[in-house]
């Protein structure tokens, strides 16, 4: 799965990148299932791999994006801050994780039925569901406002 993600972020063609990201999401869904979250795994496939990635693909194909991004200048000057930042973050995180004695404890066998998730979601977290529904409405309105035709003279 990490290999798929790595391939995803290194492809120059955005369509290939999104396809590799779908593979990565499927692998993550399997991991969710193994960690005892079948409902979340199903949502991962349906919402992420199904809806969001199709939206990405649709936009990429609609705009007809060509593979590009030829780096300018010396390569190491562009890569050095990135490699430094990423590797230092990774090393610090791993040190913090494995210093903790709780890190070596096993995750016990755990399976949460979708029914229990639903009861928690619409019982204790009903207010959050309402807030999320409002947010989706606002996102729809925002996307509609952004999608309106430009006024005359703004096109370049």
């Amino acid at each position: 799965m990490l290999a798929a993600t790595l391939l995803c972020i290194t492809r120059r063609n955005p369509v290939h990148a999104v396809i590799y990201l779908v593979v990565s999401f499927f692998a993550l869904a399997i991991i969710f299932y193994l960690l005892g979250a079948p409902l979340v795994a199903a949502f991962e496939v349906i919402v992420y791999a199904g809806a969001i990635m199709v939206l990405f693909l649709f936009i990429i194909m609609m705009l007809g994006l060509a593979p590009q991004e030829t780096p300018e200048g010396p390569g190491w000057q562009r890569w050095a801050p990135l490699v430094l930042l990423s590797s230092s973050l990774m090393i610090c995180t791993l040190m913090l994780i494995f210093q903790d004695p709780a890190a070596s404890k096993d995750i016990g066998a755990f399976y949460l039925a979708p029914q229990a998730v639903g009861e928690a979601l619409f019982g204790r977290y009903a207010l959050a569901v309402e807030v999320i529904s409002f947010q989706l409405l606002f996102a729809t309105i925002g996307a509609y406002m952004l999608g309106k035709p430009l006024p005359k003279g703004d096109e370049q």
Partner: protein, 101 residues
């Protein structure tokens, strides 16, 4: 599944760093959004692992909420991508360097 909790956390950290690398490395706006997606997935992996570790449902509930938030964010962000494309005919982030009130 008998895996140590630390391994799940380390895996999520690796995924997050990959997403961060994507955000910092790529210059197309749409690939930056892909990097944000990868980072959000790493966060949801931590939530699910913690939910299994403490045998509670709350983590999984929050992952579902996180997915709804991500869907809203992607909708707005892709609408903005289309808008920027119509303005400048390009999606390289360096092009968008001007503001107008």
């Amino acid at each position: 599944m008998m895996i140590p909790f630390g391994h799940a956390l380390a895996f999520a950290a690796a995924l997050f760093v990959l997403g961060l690398t994507c955000v910092l490395l790529r210059r197309q706006v749409i690939m930056i959004l892909v990097g944000v997606e990868i980072m959000l997935n790493a966060a949801s992996l931590v939530f699910v692992a913690a939910s299994a570790y403490w045998q509670q449902a709350d983590g999984q509930v929050f992952v579902i909420i996180l997915m709804a938030i991500t869907a809203a964010e992607v909708a707005v962000a892709l609408a903005m991508v289309v808008y920027l494309w119509r303005r400048k005919r390009s999606l390289v982030a360096d092009v968008f360097n001007g503001m107008r009130g």
